[in-house]
């Protein structure tokens, strides 16, 4: 059984070379499965039960997406809104995701130094991802340090290839449980 599930969301996949490289790397990594949301639900009609059954099979869930407006593309938000149901993901009987690890792999337009107090984006990546971190907390999940590719639409071919290799390594250590956590799981 595979250990890492990559939930991938990009509405214009054909125009994102970086994400294409990352997805290819993920698919090639042992123990990693990729689930493409825009490919599965072009009409946004998310099959909630099927998604939940899928999530139940994995220990680690990675949300891979472009960092649109400091957040995820619409369909991933739709997916979160629908799939993480009360009493399934959270609430008194919501234990389906408890003890699992949530992680994010994002491609951001700005360079690394843009994500700090003095930078153009004013906040750090972790700060901007806090809604996701809190989502993990509410579902009783650990939240791993995010994998970020900065200036994703400006990088050179070599940098992109390197990012893809890094991504594969990152996924492997996630699988092994050796990735540093921003938020430890519940006791």
């Amino acid at each position: 059984m595979e250990d890492v599930l990559v939930i991938f969301a990009h509405p214009a996949f054909h125009r994102s070379r970086t994400n294409r490289a990352l997805v290819a790397a993920a698919r090639a990594t042992e123990g990693v499965a990729v689930h493409d949301l825009y490919e599965t639900y072009p009409d946004f009609l998310v099959d909630v039960r099927a998604e939940q059954r899928l999530l139940e099979q994995y220990r680690t869930v990675v949300l891979q997406h472009p960092f649109f407006w400091y957040s995820s593309p619409a369909l991933l938000k739709e997916w979160l809104d629908l799939v993480l149901q009360f009493n399934w993901a959270y609430g008194p009987d919501g234990r389906a995701l408890r003890g699992k690890v949530l992680a994010q792999a994002i491609t951001a337009g700005g360079p690394e130094d843009a994500y700090r107090r003095e930078g153009t984006n004013h906040f750090s990546v972790r700060e901007l991802l806090s809604p996701f971190e809190q989502t993990a907390r509410l579902c009783g999940m650990a939240y791993a340090e995010a994998f970020t590719v900065h200036a994703a639409n400006h990088i050179t071919e070599e940098t992109r290839d390197e990012a893809a290799r890094d991504y594969s390594r990152w996924l492997t250590s996630l699988r092994a449980g050796s990735v540093s956590l921003w938020l430890p799981g519940p006791e």
Partner: protein
């Protein structure tokens, strides 16, 4: 010569009917009163254009009453009738008994012998079904409490005629003048009472059985021929057949057809029957009212003005007072009771039949008979006026229907009418139904109708291409009209009718092709749905996916194409009427723009520029395509 005279008669009657309707409506008196007045004007005592044959005409025109009761029956479901049982038997029964006794008492007080007085009472207790129902319908009062009460009483009167016919000969004082022309059920003479009863009950059962079992396969077979006149013929045949049967066993023909109508009220052919018979009803009733007007014997009135007018006035006053008291006793509020009393105060067409019968049995002498006939005719002529006056007086409180019947009119009350329930329309109806929205469906494919009814869809057989069907399907109250027919000519015909008569309806149209869409746009319609557009786009989307386009991209491309194409379609519709070259060059231009847009050429307003961040400005990048994150 004979032909010519028949045509002349027909011409005079039809012309009179036209004048009556137009003048009656213009003057606000209603069509019924118009008919009566014009009838009197062209009759032997007026202009003298129409003479002695008026009695035959009236007899023929009585068929109008029969058709009307059939249609009333069609509107009435058995459950509704059952709910009215207290009104029919309570109010109706009391009305007949009390009015008969009251009027008889008045006659005795004027020095009449008790036997003819009682006969008179019973005869005058009847009111005119035709005049009252038609006048109430004209004033939109049928669904009000006054209307419902009037209807219940009239229905009971129709039932009461049978025992009255049996009783009349027992009240004879003078010598019998031989059998009256009306009794065509003498073949049962000499039969024991139980035998007659059995035959009578058997006839009613037969009517119910015929209406229940035989009509559906019959109508279905006829509907399949798609000959409209065949359907009309079958409907008339059914009614005439029942009328004959009822007359044969001595029952009221109107009552028999009413029963048949009630039995057919739930049938899918209801709307079709209604709209087929409606014009006949109107014409025949018009003839009937004309006949009553013609038949008013002004000569006799002239000779005994005091007696005749006194009789008519006394009849109206006595009956009105008793009716009002009865209605109030039935806890009906003041205003509806007032209208109810005014509606039923006059005499009725049954009186003519009964007077003839009474004359034949020797209950009345010739002069008494004439006086009664004239008095009844005048009181009948006064009925529409009385209704008009009472309605005006109580207009404020009568504006809203007092009795708002619950959900017994589901199909008429439906907010959506769907014309055509084939492969296109049925999806619409089904989806709406899942959302609890009822639609009245019209379809002219009998097999389709049967299948759908079998699975519980409320579908009615009817050629939706006919304007009158729209009315019977409840277009006046519906909000939306969906036309999902195959034929664009029929569609346009319905559109025209709907816009003319029901401008409030929002029309949703199915178009087969681009060419049809142009036609519908020319007709000024906006909500046009091209039959196969979405299907072709879905197919194209799947082809794109099969060729490697990402699913969401393919989906989005199709959606964008659709949105643009709707705009271009409207542009092209305008160019269509210019010369061919202009059209072709406009079409080329449109195609070029569409290609451009869909290929996301930079600088165009309509491209798919989604998810491209500022850093990936397509103009600034060497990349041939805009880049996302």
């Amino acid at each position: 010569m004979a032909f010519e005279s028949v045509f002349l008669q027909a011409f005079i009657y039809l012309a009179a009917a036209l004048v009556a309707v137009v003048a009656g409506k213009r003057l606000g008196l209603g069509a019924v009163l118009g008919y009566l007045i014009i009838g009197a004007a062209i009759g032997p005592w007026g202009l003298g254009w129409i003479g002695g044959e008026s009695e035959q005409v009236t007899h023929f025109a009585e068929f109008g009453v029969v058709v009307m009761l059939f249609l009333v029956g069609l509107e009435m479901r058995p459950t509704e009738l059952w709910r009215m049982r207290r009104q029919i038997f309570g109010l109706g029964g009391m009305q007949v008994v009390l009015c008969a006794l009251g009027l008889a008492g008045a006659a005795v007080a004027f020095g009449c012998h008790w036997k003819p007085a009682l006969a008179m009472g019973m005869i005058l207790a009847m009111s005119s079904t035709a005049i009252v129902l038609q006048s109430l319908a004209e004033k939109n009062l049928l669904r009000t409490e006054a209307g419902q009460n009037s209807f219940a009483v009239l229905l009971f009167q129709d039932l009461a005629v049978i025992p009255i016919i049996a009783l009349l000969p027992l009240l004879a004082t003078g010598a019998a003048h031989g059998t009256a022309g009306h009794a065509s059920h003498d073949w049962m003479e000499g039969w024991p009472a139980w035998g007659r009863g059995l035959v009578t009950v058997g006839a009613v059962v037969l009517v119910v059985v015929i209406a229940r079992l035989a009509t559906r396969p019959l109508f279905r077979a006829i509907a399949k021929t798609r000959q409209r006149e065949a359907f009309t013929a079958a409907a008339l045949m059914l009614i005439i057949g029942i009328a004959l049967l009822m007359t044969k066993v001595g029952l009221s023909a109107a009552l028999g057809t009413f029963v048949a109508g009630v039995v057919l009220a739930n049938s899918e052919y209801r709307h079709e029957l209604e709209s087929d018979l409606e014009p006949f009803k109107g014409l025949l009733l018009g003839l009937f009212f004309l006949g009553v007007g013609v038949g008013i014997d002004f000569g006799h009135i002239g000779r005994f003005p005091g007696t005749v007018l006194g009789l008519a006035a006394g009849l109206i006053v006595v009956k009105a007072v008793m009716m009002y008291a009865l209605a109030r006793l039935h806890r009906s509020p003041r205003e509806p009771s007032f209208v109810f009393a005014a509606a039923l105060a006059g005499g009725g067409e049954f009186a003519f039949v009964l007077i003839g019968l009474a004359l034949g049995s020797g209950v009345f002498d010739e002069s008494q008979g004439k006086t009664l006939t004239a008095g009844v005719a005048i009181s009948m002529a006064a009925t529409p006026l009385l209704i008009l006056a009472s309605h005006r007086l109580t207009a404020r409180s009568m504006k809203k229907p007092v009795v708002e019947r619950e959900s017994d009119v589901q199909d008429e009350g439906a907010p959506v009418i769907i014309c055509g329930f084939g492969r296109f329309g049925h999806i619409i109806g089904r989806l709406l139904r899942t959302q609890g929205i009822h639609s009245t469906v019209l379809d002219n494919d009998p097999d389709q109708v049967d299948t759908l009814r079998a699975i519980g869809m409320p579908v009615f057989f009817g050629d939706a291409g006919r304007p009158d069907m729209l009315l019977t399907a409840g277009a006046a109250r519906a909000k939306i009209l969906v036309i999902a027919l195959k034929d664009v000519a029929t569609t346009l015909n319905i559109v025209e009718t709907a816009r003319k008569h029901f401008p409030h309806l929002k029309i949703f149209l199915r178009a087969h092709s681009r060419a049809e869409a142009y036609e519908l746009l020319d007709a000024g319609e906006e909500r046009i749905y091209r039959d196969t557009l979405d299907t072709s786009l879905t197919l194209a989307t799947d082809v794109l996916r099969e060729l490697g386009t990402p699913a969401y991209t393919a989906y989005r491309v199709a959606k964008l194409y659709r949105r643009r194409d709707e705009i271009f379609l409207r542009k092209m519709a305008k160019h269509r009427h210019k010369d061919d070259d202009a059209f072709i060059s406009a079409a080329r231009e449109v195609q070029r723009t569409l290609d451009q847009v869909m290929r996301e050429e930079p600088g165009h307003d309509f491209g798919d520029e989604g998810w491209v961040p500022p850093g990936a400005d397509p103009n600034a990048k060497p990349s041939p395509k805009p880049e996302s994150l």
